[in-house]
């Protein structure tokens, strides 16, 4: 009775899928143990709008870089178990990124009826959307007939008197809210550079813990800023963010290597019965200088770039 139109769009708690019935489109939303159905009569389908998703180049690059960085941690550890753990999980993460690339660019598909606008979650890739439209189009046209281009042009001319579109009903356009994620991030980088300098000059026991907290805050803000501003990647501040991410990854590798060394020292001291090393992280002078320098440069350059962009461009 039903013909499958799309594959299953799987998620943790179930899947969604589209099927074509004799006179309707069936959207199956499965929560594994219960299936929920939505029917859309072919005669009632007014429009199908497919919106291409963003290129996702940045998010894929971040995903790939993070996966490679995670896998490369296998080179910094000595334990066989740790090597296997990082290799296995890293390869799995890389495979996921590759799978996402192979599935093609994303999209969002909305189905319109006279009284509703429904997101068709199973149509989440442009390739799937093309196949879906090729399958559903003839079925809808068999019920409703075709919509000749002349009629569309006529409707365009009749716009003033036509009830099809009511300009008065259109809500006012609200410009996107201005966010200050980049300002906060670059400020934090400058603050961390100062803190690193203080921690290197006057060593105190709370420094490693505070630095870890700062590092975590930095990566969260970098990722948020990269994702939020991914629509306009040509800006100079965005390039600074990308460079900051690379420098941050280098810092992370250094910290990972130091942490692995600290664990080894703890293990050795436990074996010989000696005193374990008191300080978790003791970076070398070169590492500290690198961490201070890139934070200083990225923070200052970022602030200047944002100031210049705010002066010249529209609010974003």
């Amino acid at each position: 009775m039903y013909r499958r139109l799309t594959g299953k769009n799987r998620r943790l708690t179930g899947h969604t899928q589209l099927w074509l019935g004799p006179d309707h489109l069936l959207l199956v939303n499965s929560s594994r143990f219960v299936e929920h159905y939505q029917r859309f009569a072919l005669a009632d389908i007014a429009a199908i709008v497919v919106t291409d998703g963003p290129a996702a180049t940045v998010s894929r690059f971040i995903g790939a870089a993070a996966s490679v960085a995670w896998t490369s941690l296998a080179l910094t550890v000595a334990s066989t178990f740790a090597v296997r753990f990082f290799l296995l999980t890293g390869v799995a993460a890389i495979a996921l990124v590759l799978l996402d690339i192979l599935r093609g660019p994303r999209c969002r598909c909305h189905l319109y009826t006279a009284v509703s606008r429904e997101l068709l979650t199973p149509v989440s890739r442009q390739r799937v959307a093309r196949a879906f439209l090729a399958a559903i189009g003839p079925a809808i046209e068999a019920v409703q007939g075709t919509f000749p281009p002349e009629r569309i042009a006529e409707l365009g001319r009749m716009r003033g008197a036509s009830p099809l579109t009511d300009p008065g009903a259109e809500p006012p356009h609200v410009p996107p809210a201005r966010n200050y994620v980049q300002e906060v991030l670059f400020g934090l980088l400058l603050l961390d550079a100062v803190f690193l300098w203080i921690a290197s000059r006057w060593s105190f026991s709370e420094a490693p813990g505070l630095l870890m907290t700062f590092y975590f805050a930095e990566i969260v803000l970098i990722v948020v800023a990269l994702v939020r501003d991914a629509r306009d990647i040509r800006r100079f501040s965005y390039a600074i963010l990308a460079v900051a991410l690379i420098c941050y990854a280098a810092d992370l590798v250094n910290v990972g290597r130091d942490a692995a060394g600290w664990f080894m020292q703890v293990a050795q001291s436990a074996q010989v019965g000696g005193q374990p090393p008191a300080v978790f992280w003791t970076p070398s002078a070169r590492q500290t200088l690198f961490a201070e320098a890139w934070r200083c440069v990225a923070g200052a350059a970022g602030w200047l770039a944002i100031y210049a962009e705010r002066q010249t461009g529209p609010a974003s």
Partner: protein, 226 residues
Amino acid sequence: MSAPAIRCGACSQVISEARTGPARPPKLAGTLSVSPERGSVVRASSSEEAWNRASGVHCPACRETLHVTVYPAIERSTSGALPEALHTESEASCFYHPQSRAVLPCDECGRFLCRLCELDVGGRHLCPGCFDAGVRERKIEGVETRRTMYDSIALALATLPALMIWPAVFGAPASLYYVMRYWSAPGSLVPRTRFRFYVAGLLALSEIVGMGLLIRLMVLTSASRP
């Protein structure tokens, strides 16, 4: 009532006619950009120009590409039939709207219904109450909104408790019960095999047999101890 307004799937901006007036930054302008081919962008004068274009259009707000496919139903009005008022007191009135003239009785309960209350379901005319009851009791075909997947439940009962070993004591019999009780129950609306039922039944049986053997082994071991 007007037809649905076509919106961008990314930012929900209504794709509307071009606006006149002073130029604004492209991101804020409500003008529709039509791209006949990649790389070249021209201005469209109305939303209809966005319809059924193979190359798609750009959203005026977020600049994402949209492919708008419209069908003749977009011209259909959304206003339905309105009930007629009673002309004389001798006329039959609707059970739910005493001020409206009844046009036909419910095929299920016989109540008189006006145009607003009459629901045409597969050729039968039902009142809202009977329709609701029919949906709940699954008496009306083609309007079911949910079904329970008993085969998935049986499979989960056969596998998940067994992962923690001892809960299989309860999981396996429960799974077997589900397999036998719901073997003939209606499954999914869409094609689906009984594969899960077969696997669940076999797993549950093997777990029960395994547990029986384990108990027997434990009894024999304890009996052979001095």
